[in-house]
Symmetry: C2
Subunit: 271 residues, 2 copies
C-alpha cells in the first residue's frame, strides 16, 4: 500500500485521456499531471529534443514524490521511454506497449493492424516494433495524422471537416484491409465515434489510454503500491503546466469535464 | 549603402512567405532567417513567453551582424514588437502595421475590415489597434483560425477539408459584410486562392508579407542601408532553426521552392 501520487505527463492536453482512464482504473489513487504546454507539440520535434524535455519533466515529477510515472504521450514514449526508465528511480510505463498488446489481442482475424499517430510517433516505428515483439510477423500499416490534434483541440469531434480529413488519412489503411486500428496518440480517443464510423464496423478501435490505465493497475498491484481504499482517503488530482494555464483549463475541460479545476505554472529547462 | 544581411525570424516556417516577399522587394540584399522550430507554435503561448523567446532570437540575430530585423510572425509582433524595439540596436519592424495600413488603403468602401490569425494574434487585438491608429473608428471583425497553420503545413492548399474549414471560419466575417480581409498570419498567403474563392469577389485580400517587404525597403532606403546593386555582389540567404532542420527543409520548400537548400541548427534559451 502506498498513498503517494502517480505522476502523469504529456506534451500538453492529450494525456488527459490517459489521466481519465487512470482515475477509472485506480479510483483511490491521487495523481500529479504535467502538461508541457510551453513546448507542445512534441510530434514534429527531433528524438533528442523530446528525450531532453521528457527527462526534465520526470525529474520534476520525482521531486513531487510520485510512486510511478506514466508517459501519457506517444511521441515521448517512442523516443524517450527507455532513457526515462534508465534515469528514474520509480517505475515508468508508456502508452505504446499496452496499446500494442491490446491490438494483437483484438486482431484475431490475422488481418493487418493499422496504427495512426503524430509524425514523430509514426516515423519512430515504435508501434511496429512493439507489435512485432508480441506477435512476430504481424503486418502493420501506419499513417501520420497531423491534423487530428488541432481538430480535437478545436473541439470539432463531429465536424464535417474532421470527417473529410479522417476519410483521407484512413483511406490507405482501409484499402489494405486492416482489422484493428490503434489510436496511437492520446488526443484521438475523443475522435473515437467519428473514426469508428469512417473505419466501418469491421475494424476494432484500440484506445491506448484505457489499456495503459489497466497496465498501471497491474504494475502497482504487483509491487504493492496501490493506494488503500479506506474511508478517510483524500484523493487529489493536481495539474501543472509550463505555460498558459487558462487555455489548458478551457480546452482541457473538453477532455476531463469539471474535474480540471485549475493548473499551476511550473518553469522547466534552464530556469 | 550597407551589405550586412537583414535578419528575419518566425516561430517556424510561416515567416518564409515574408522572406520571399523581402527577396522580391530587395533583390540585392542578403538575409539570415531564424525559425524557432523547437518552440513552434507561438499562437497558443502566453505573451510573456512569446516575448522571452523573441528577445532570445533577436539577440542571436544581432550577433550575426544584421542591419535590421523583421519580425515575420504575427503573434510575436503582437506581443513583443515594442519590447524588441526597446532592446535592440538595429531597427525592428513587424508584420502588423504594414498589413493594417494596406487594409485601410484597400477598404475604400467603408465596410468593416476582417482580420484572421492565430488565437494569440486575435486575442491580442493588435490589428484592431493598428487599424484604429491609421483610420480611427473603422469597424474591425476578427476570427481565430487555428486549423489553417496545420492545413498549410500538410500542404493541403486546395483540399476539400481546407475549404470546409475556411467556410466555417469566415462565415461570421462574411455575414458582417467585410470588404477587406487581412491574412494576419504568415502561413495564410499559401491559402490565398482558396480563401479568395470562399470570401468571394467582393472582398479584397491583404497579404501582410508583401506589405512588409515594401515597408522594409522604404525603411532601409530612408536610412541609406540598402545593399548596393553592383555586379560583384554576393547575395546569400542563410537559414537557421532551433530543431529538426530536415522537416524545415521539406515543408519549407512548399514556401520557398529550391531556394531553401539547408538549415543549420542553433540552440537558444539556457544553452
Amino acid at each position: 500500500m502506498n498513498r503517494a501520487p502517480i505522476g502523469i505527463f504529456d506534451s500538453g492536453l492529450g494525456g488527459l485521456t490517459v489521466a481519465r482512464a487512470i482515475y477509472q482504473a485506480l479510483p483511490n489513487d491521487s495523481t500529479v499531471y504535467f502538461g508541457d504546454t510551453a513546448r507542445v507539440p512534441y510530434g514534429p520535434k527531433s528524438p533528442a529534443t523530446v528525450r531532453r524535455y521528457s527527462l526534465e519533466i520526470t525529474d520534476w515529477l520525482v521531486r513531487q514524490g510520485v510512486k510511478a510515472i506514466v508517459v501519457a504521450c506517444n511521441t515521448s514514449t517512442a523516443h524517450a521511454l527507455e532513457a526515462l526508465q534508465d534515469a528514474t528511480i520509480v517505475p515508468v510505463i508508456g502508452v505504446i506497449e499496452p496499446g500494442a498488446r491490446a491490438a494483437v489481442r483484438a486482431n484475431s482475424s490475422g488481418r493487418p493492424i493499422g496504427v495512426i499517430g503524430t509524425a514523430g510517433t509514426i516515423q519512430s516505428r515504435a508501434y511496429d516494433r512493439a507489435i512485432d515483439a508480441v506477435a512476430p510477423g504481424t503486418e502493420v500499416v501506419s499513417a501520420a495524422c497531423p491534423l487530428f490534434v488541432p481538430l480535437v483541440e478545436e473541439g470539432w469531434f463531429e465536424h464535417e471537416a474532421t470527417r473529410v480529413v479522417a476519410a483521407e488519412y484512413l483511406a490507405p489503411l482501409l484499402q489494405r484491409g486492416i482489422g484493428t486500428l490503434v489510436l496511437g496518440c492520446t488526443h484521438y480517443p475523443l475522435l473515437k465515434p467519428l473514426l469508428a464510423r469512417v473505419a466501418g464496423p469491421g475494424v476494432a478501435l484500440i484506445d491506448s489510454a484505457e489499456e495503459t490505465g489497466l497496465e498501471l493497475k497491474r504494475l502497482l498491484a504487483e509491487r504493492d503500491l496501490l493506494a488503500p481504499g479506506d474511508a478517510d482517503r483524500r484523493v487529489f488530482h493536481r495539474f501543472a503546466v509550463s505555460d498558459d494555464p487558462e487555455r489548458f483549463r478551457t480546452v482541457g475541460s473538453r477532455f476531463l469535464g469539471e474535474r480540471l479545476a485549475a493548473a499551476e505554472v511550473v518553469a522547466l529547462g534552464g530556469h
